[in-house]
């Protein structure tokens, strides 16, 4: 309880301190609150360290920090996570070496003192640790009930979020739009892309679904263009988009189709497919490329199509074609009714009917 109050006070304090000087948007405020939470965990680590209760371990280039019993209990999970990361990374594993993952469980402590007092809010945010190869401590809260695979997934997620995504160039981060795992895309995820394509509001999405590779290349934002909206939207679609905007260029476009290209040029990019769809192409490239795909991806020239080609070892057209094939091969079951559901219903009907047969005529 006290700890929750402490977190609340720290976050509120951080907000109060940061808001007038720094925070311009809600996103910035949220980022600062997240930093404050991280700082709290780092402070706990410092306190543990000061009291001699902290140990560290290294698996490959993956470094873990935490109480000895916690480290030993989660070592199998860390090894599993490392094996998975190693497969994705290929020969260059040093990229992970700047990261230290601090494992902790809810400590249930009633006070917050000692070495923790030396840690100032905002000093240990993840952004301050990159670039330059400096070390970055990233806390990872675990629960006692977590399975080995859950802990392994959490460790992998921390590495994906705080190493790969951060070291990637701005253009790649803009394209991915969010941290992603490197796992093989599951059938359910392909089905998600199937739905995204077939329910797309733009014609280019439907063309892509019809195996038009040029349309897919545009829809997946793989072509470099100063005005991507112009590539994605038809004039009619631009006019429909303009109906929902109060911008001057939008109103011009709504009244005069010749003004729509100007409206599209001045509007922020609105990709026809969401970032999940693009991330699945990225993960497919890693799957096709096999070992070392990430390494090749990072070393390739700074164009997303060149990086994907390098990672996958194939040309972009073949990769996109494979992507469309995988998407089209994963249609949803449709109408929400399955054989499994029907079978269970029949069983329940028989059970209930059996209960009715046992009723008595004697009232």
């Amino acid at each position: 309880m006290c700890r929750h109050l402490l977190v609340l006070c720290l976050c509120t304090g951080a907000l109060g301190w940061a808001a007038p000087a720094w925070a311009q948007t809600v996103e910035e405020l949220e980022a600062r609150v997240a930093d404050a939470r991280i700082s709290l965990a780092v402070a706990e680590a410092a306190e543990d360290s000061a009291r001699g209760r902290l140990d560290s371990t290294r698996i490959g280039t993956l470094r873990l920090l935490g109480r000895p019993e916690l480290l030993s209990r989660n070592e199998p999970a860390a090894e599993r996570a490392w094996a998975s990361l190693r497969r994705a990374l290929g020969p260059d594993t040093t990229i992970v070496s700047g990261l230290i993952i601090y494992l902790y469980e809810d400590p249930n402590r009633s006070t917050f003192s000692g070495a923790a007092g030396t840690v100032r809010l905002g000093d240990s945010g993840p952004s301050s640790m990159f670039p330059g190869g400096a070390e970055h401590v990233q806390p990872l809260r675990l629960r006692r009930t977590y399975s080995v695979s859950a802990v392994a997934n959490s460790i992998e997620r921390v590495v994906y979020d705080h190493v790969f995504y951060r070291v990637m160039p701005e253009s790649v981060r803009e394209w991915l739009d969010a941290p992603t795992s490197f796992d093989t895309v599951s059938r359910g995820e392909w089905t998600g892309s199937y739905i995204a394509l077939t329910t797309s509001d733009l014609n280019i999405g439907h063309q892509c679904f019809q195996r038009n590779i040029a349309a897919c290349t545009k829809a997946l934002w793989l072509t470099v263009s100063e005005t991507p909206n112009v590539d994605w939207f038809t004039t009619a679609e631009a006019q429909a988009l303009a109906q929902n905007s109060m911008a001057f260029t939008a109103m011009q476009c709504a009244g005069d189709v010749t003004q729509c290209p100007e409206f599209l040029r001045t509007t922020l990019p609105r990709p026809p497919l969401d970032y999940n769809t693009r991330q699945r192409l990225f993960r497919l490239a890693l799957e096709v490329g096999g070992e070392g795909a990430i390494h090749r991806f990072l070393l390739a020239p700074d164009r997303i199509e060149a990086r994907l080609e390098a990672a996958s070892g194939t040309d972009l057209g073949s990769l996109v074609e494979e992507w469309t094939t995988r998407v089209r091969n994963a249609p949803p079951p449709g109408s929400g009714f399955s054989t499994r559901s029907g079978t269970v219903t029949v069983i329940w009907i028989l059970v209930v009917f059996g209960a009715a047969l046992r009723s008595s005529r004697w009232r």
Partner: protein
């Protein structure tokens, strides 16, 4: 004897049969009607999906209602006559129940067929954009399964005695009071939530009612 039971059940429930046949036939047509206009718009795919989602609960609700109406009318006359008629018949109880159930199911076929036919007509009439498909067979089959399940549940409840109903109510009361007790002692256990999940999540009995009922879907 089955013929007589069927005839009497028809007499008791013929108005319900007619009304439910009309409702079952009309529902898919009503659900598809707004899409005629919206599919012409630029964002037709999303519009159709949203319309289908809006009408989705009506299909499950109608299936439940059909089951309730037919099950209660099946036993209604017996309840009113204090089951004297059933006692006078020279057949064992289980045989009588089977005949009542079969007669109810047979009458239920009319609205189920109406739903199937309505789905077919609605699918043929709808302007379906590229990428979407109509599922008249899957939807009407699901509707049939759900209706028969609801009919069976309400049939079993209606076949029971007052004492059985009292037992069921007592169990519900105990569960409710138990949850209150758990909350009072500050334990982090949601028994009612667990029971509801067990009912509606596979392989729970009501799983077929959950999820979306989409005549037109991806």
């Amino acid at each position: 004897m089955f013929k007589e039971i069927l005839r009497t059940e028809w007499n008791w429930s013929r108005y319900a049969v007619v009304v439910t046949v009309v409702a079952a036939f009309a529902l898919p047509l009503v659900a598809i009607q707004p899409t005629g206009m919206e599919s012409q718009s630029l964002y037709g795919t999303t519009a159709i999906m949203n319309v289908m989602r809006r009408y989705s609960p009506w299909f499950g609700g109608l299936a439940m209602l059909l089951g309730l109406v037919f099950a209660t009318t099946t036993w209604g006359a017996d309840h009113r006559g204090h089951h004297v008629y059933a006692l006078t018949l020279p057949v064992p109880r289980w045989q009588y129940v089977v005949m009542r159930y079969s007669a109810g199911l047979l009458l239920l076929c009319a609205p189920l067929a109406a739903m199937w036919f309505g789905c077919l007509v609605a699918s043929a009439a709808a302007q379906i954009p590229t990428g979407l498909q109509a599922y008249p067979y899957a939807l009407s089959l699901r509707f049939a399964f759900a209706t028969v399940l609801a009919f069976s549940v309400f049939f079993a409840i209606s076949a029971g005695t007052t004492r059985t109903a009292a037992y069921v109510l007592t169990v519900l009361l105990v569960v409710g009071l138990g949850q209150v007790g758990i909350n009072v002692f500050g334990l982090d256990r949601n028994v009612i939530g667990w029971i509801l999940d067990s009912l509606v999540v596979w392989p729970g009995p009501l799983e077929i009612f959950t999820g979306e009922w989409m005549l037109i879907d991806v």
